[in-house]
């Protein structure tokens, strides 16, 4: 394990087809520690297939996934996955929904609850522990979903269009909020999205998955010194980046 690859996620030359239909071909990318990489692509470009390969639901035909330079195992994966919909279980209270990943990993319910309770207020969820998911707004549910993801304490977060189902105002609020929490914790994030603005706002690097199977296309690199909070919208560097990404994405769809 060299210092170079320590904590780095590397996806190398992944190929996957379903029957005769090739979905992913020679897909490679890497996410360095504390880096946010966004992957944008039109629907049907294989985003969810790639996610399934990362979470272990699908096995690639070719290629491998390395973490810290080692091929990752069947079970013990360095990822936690946050699905597009919150998928909170209606029979579990908020505290038990947030802690289910810990329970699956073998922790007792009481200990899992204690861990969740410690983090609840930091996630803006204080006082909601005994409520059921239905009793929360969509934005609050997504926070619970995010807490359920990060509490599993893995170095890499896989976020699958985490704000796609929310209204614009809540989405904006949660994007900022997520970045604030990220700044304190420094996970690596692989963000799947089809929202150009979201990709530019959240990510250090944006990559494009084209509708034709093939290697990822380099999108844009977003300097960290661009403010991501309220100042983001007025920063003069943002529009050109969004325009550039927009154009590249257009080419990727047509290609």
């Amino acid at each position: 394990m060299s210092a170079e690859t320590n904590g780095t996620l590397e996806i190398c030359h992944i190929r996957k087809s379903f029957g005769p239909k090739l979905v992913l071909d020679d897909v490679s990318l890497s996410v360095k520690p504390s880096e946010i990489v966004a992957l944008v692509g039109p629907s049907g470009s294989g985003k969810s297939t790639l996610l399934s390969i990362l979470t272990g639901t699908l096995v690639p035909d070719h290629g491998e996934i390395l973490f810290s330079g080692n091929v990752i195992g069947e079970r013990d994966r360095p990822f936690t996955y946050m699905p597009q919909r919150d998928v909170l279980l209606p029979w579990r209270t908020i505290v038990d929904n947030a802690g289910i990943g810990l329970e699956v990993a073998g922790m007792g319910r009481r200990d899992a609850r204690r861990r969740v309770m410690d983090l609840l207020s930091a996630f803006g969820l204080a006082g909601t522990e005994d409520l059921y998911p239905r009793q929360l707004s969509g934005g609050m549910r997504q926070r619970v979903s995010f807490l359920r993801t990060v509490i599993q304490d893995r170095p890499v977060l896989l976020l699958d269009e985490p704000f796609g189902a929310l209204d614009a105002i809540t989405r904006d609020e949660l994007q900022q909020w997520l970045l604030e929490i990220w700044a304190l914790n420094g996970w690596s994030i692989l963000l799947i999205t089809h929202d150009i603005r979201e990709a530019v706002r959240m990510a250090d690097r944006v990559l494009i998955l084209s509708s034709q199977p093939g290697p990822l296309i380099k999108g844009v690199t977003v300097p960290r010194d661009i403010p991501r909070d309220g100042g983001f919208l007025t920063d003069p560097r943002v529009s050109p980046l969004e325009a550039e990404l927009h154009e590249k994405l257009g080419l990727a769809v047509r290609r």
């Binding site: 979470t55 272990g56 639901t57 079970r75 013990d76 994966r77 990822f79 936690t80 996955y81 699905p83 919909r85 998928v87 279980l89 209606p90 029979w91 579990r92 289910i100 990943g101 329970e103 699956v104 990993a105 996630f123 803006g124 204080a126 006082g127 909601t128 409520l131 059921y132 239905r134 009793q135 929360l136 707004s137 934005g139 609050m140 599993q152 909020w177 604030e180």
Partner: protein, 277 residues
């Protein structure tokens, strides 16, 4: 930075909602009660006016008074019926749960057995009841078995349908957390089945008492079925109907207890169904 968006409810809002739900319940409950009372009134008039001889169709008032005089005897016979119902029901729920769980794990077994289970539903209870008594005697066992038999199938189907109602995304999520099949069953599929389990519980409980009475008809020493038969043999239609009333009350009480259990032990269900937000 992070604003709370949980539901907060003002007291007067709570009161208004409470009143609204009371009037909603009244609107639902009142029409059937009125219809029932009207029907009873017509019956009372038809019988007391002698349009139909009271021995053939005793008036509701007479059924109630005769039933009241016979209350100790009726209770004596209602108890074994209730016992058989509860025992048979517990048996069927347990066996149905085990069967459905096994069938949920083995799809091929499900394909093989489900059609057979459906066929068992076509067996006529009338023919089966005397046979069960013939095989297992006049005691409690044949009643329990018959109750279990009539309630088993809806319970199995309820469980199976419930397991299948689990969200694939939730199973997928747990798999991404490293959960194996058994954990997914326990944490996702099983709880998903609870609403469906309770609705089939409510359906089968209405069959259960009838099943027990049927078995008693076929042969028993105690039970509402026996009581009805002996009252009929001495032309006491009022007592037959009093026993019918008791069996109806038993069924209603069981139905109500299922609903009560559901309310107490499954609080999220009402929230999920939009009962309280």
């Amino acid at each position: 930075m992070t604003r709370m968006r949980a539901m907060t409810t003002e007291p007067d809002q709570l009161l208004r909602r409470g009143l609204a739900s009371v009037s909603h319940t009244l609107a639902k409950v009142l029409p059937p009660i009125l219809a029932f009372l009207a029907l009873m009134a017509i019956w009372q008039v038809v019988s007391t006016a002698g349009i139909v001889p009271p021995d053939m169709l005793p008036a509701p008032s007479r059924i109630l008074t005769s039933g009241y005089h016979e209350r100790e005897n009726l209770a004596l016979h209602a108890l074994p019926t209730l016992t058989a119902t509860l025992a048979g029901f517990s048996l069927s729920v347990t066996v149905a749960f085990l069967t459905a769980s096994i069938l949920d794990f083995f799809a091929w077994l499900r394909r093989a057995l489900l059609p057979l289970l459906i066929v068992t539903q076509t067996l006529p209870l009338i023919a089966l009841a005397p046979l069960v008594v013939l095989w297992f005697g006049f005691g409690m066992l044949p009643k329990i078995l018959l109750v279990a038999f009539v309630t088993y199938f809806p319970m199995v189907v309820g469980f199976l349908r419930g397991f299948d109602s689990a969200e694939p995304e939730a199973e997928w999520l747990l798999r991404s957390m490293g959960a194996r099949r058994w954990t997914i069953f326990r944490k996702v599929r099983l709880p998903s089945a609870i609403p469906s389990f309770f609705s089939s519980l409510r359906i089968s409980i209405t069959y259960a008492v009838v099943g027990a009475i049927f078995a008693e008809y076929a042969g028993a020493t105690y039970g509402l079925g026996v009581y009805m038969q002996s009252a009929k043999n001495v032309f006491r239609t009022d007592l037959v109907l009093a026993a019918v009333l008791v069996s109806t009350l038993l069924t209603l009480a069981l139905y109500a207890s299922v609903s009560l259990i559901e309310r107490i032990f499954v609080p999220w269900l009402r929230i999920e169904q939009g009962g309280a937000r």
